[in-house]
Symmetry: C2
Subunit: 183 residues, 2 copies
DNA sequence: TTGTGTGAAAGTTTTCACAGCA
DNA sequence: TGCTGTGAAAACTTTCACACAA
């Protein structure tokens, strides 16, 4: 965002203002990963961005598969922000024959029965946007095909081995965080 | 979930197993809000659920408006989980004439120009699912009509007065949390 | 002058361990 | 016996304040 604004460096206090914290918090946090700021001018935005990508391990690029191309899956396919974080959405799967074979943007929708091709294609991350009733079964298949991380949009707990990381987004739970502050 | 399984009580260690933490963490956390467990049998699920709703202030019911009925908004409309958290999605707005007037489930899609009726209707929470380009402008209108909390699906920072609470869900950022653990 | 990096202090959270209740 | 609630200890995080680099 800062690079797009044509800026080349930024101070810890300016970062703090943007994300709503304090300058010393920013400096302390960065310092745990090494000293990459310059007294007087602050942090080089390009260098900082690369450092953070490295810390989060999103610098090598990750191929992503989308499972389920309903309304939510279609919204995911239309989303343009993945490249910013080193992701490449390369394939989508669905079980509906009306959808299979269609091409949305760069991505062709394949039959969900082909899901075990993920290992061969070196895809380690999946976005799960299937109905809740199918979520656990699809997850089991994903685990078998060697998936390492799942972004899950079903409002349910998924059972997976400890080696697989799941992040669940449940709209209602996020919404439920608001009333506490609204009073 | 536990109630649906027909259970009436649960121990701190069983809760801990489900959500992946320790028994003493559960007990300590609950104890800050008062002592509502019973030695020997644990926590009464119904009582616990009501206590948590009260703590989070989701026990009085909140009317919710959806802004934007594209793919993502449609997915939100199809979602059945809001009632569990005391929310009632009562209205949706869109700017597309093809969508205005249609009824999806219980909700009729209204013209986005009618958005200032929210105050009159006593709606304090909104889900924002409009294109990024419209997000800030719609947010300004929402703020004017007295909205107190926004669940924002646009991948951007929204400027609002301090009295308005925003929770932003950016799929790419959530996805970016996975590679660190995948290695 | 502006603004980093960092020891040390203050503050908070997590963990432990156990008295005591159903 | 099974399980809670909670003081006290340990661990961790945040804040401060300042030496020093560009």
């Amino acid at each position: 965002m800062l690079a797009a604004q044509g800026k080349t460096n930024i101070s810890s206090s300016a970062i703090a203002d943007i994300i709503g914290t304090n300058a010393w918090q920013i400096r302390k946090d960065f310092s745990y990963f090494g000293a990459f700021g310059k007294p007087g001018s602050g942090y080089d935005i390009d260098k900082l961005s690369k450092q953070i990508s490295k810390i989060l391990k999103i610098n090598k690029g990750h191929k992503v598969a989308l499972i389920g191309v309903g309304n939510l899956g279609s919204a995911v396919l239309a989303y343009k922000g993945f490249a910013n974080y080193g992701f490449d959405l390369v394939v989508a799967f669905d079980s509906d024959p009306k959808r299979i074979g269609k091409k949305l943007g760069e991505v062709t929708i394949e039959n969900i029965s082909k899901i075990n091709s993920l290992k061969k294609r070196n895809i380690t991350v999946a976005i799960l946007a299937v109905p809740e009733s199918a979520a656990q079964q699809v997850t089991d298949t994903l685990v078998k095909t060697g998936i390492k991380g799942i972004l899950n949009f079903s409002p349910c707990y998924l059972q997976v081995p400890k080696s697989v990381r799941i992040i669940t987004i449940d709209i209602a739970i996020d919404l439920a965080r608001l009333p506490y502050y609204i009073g």
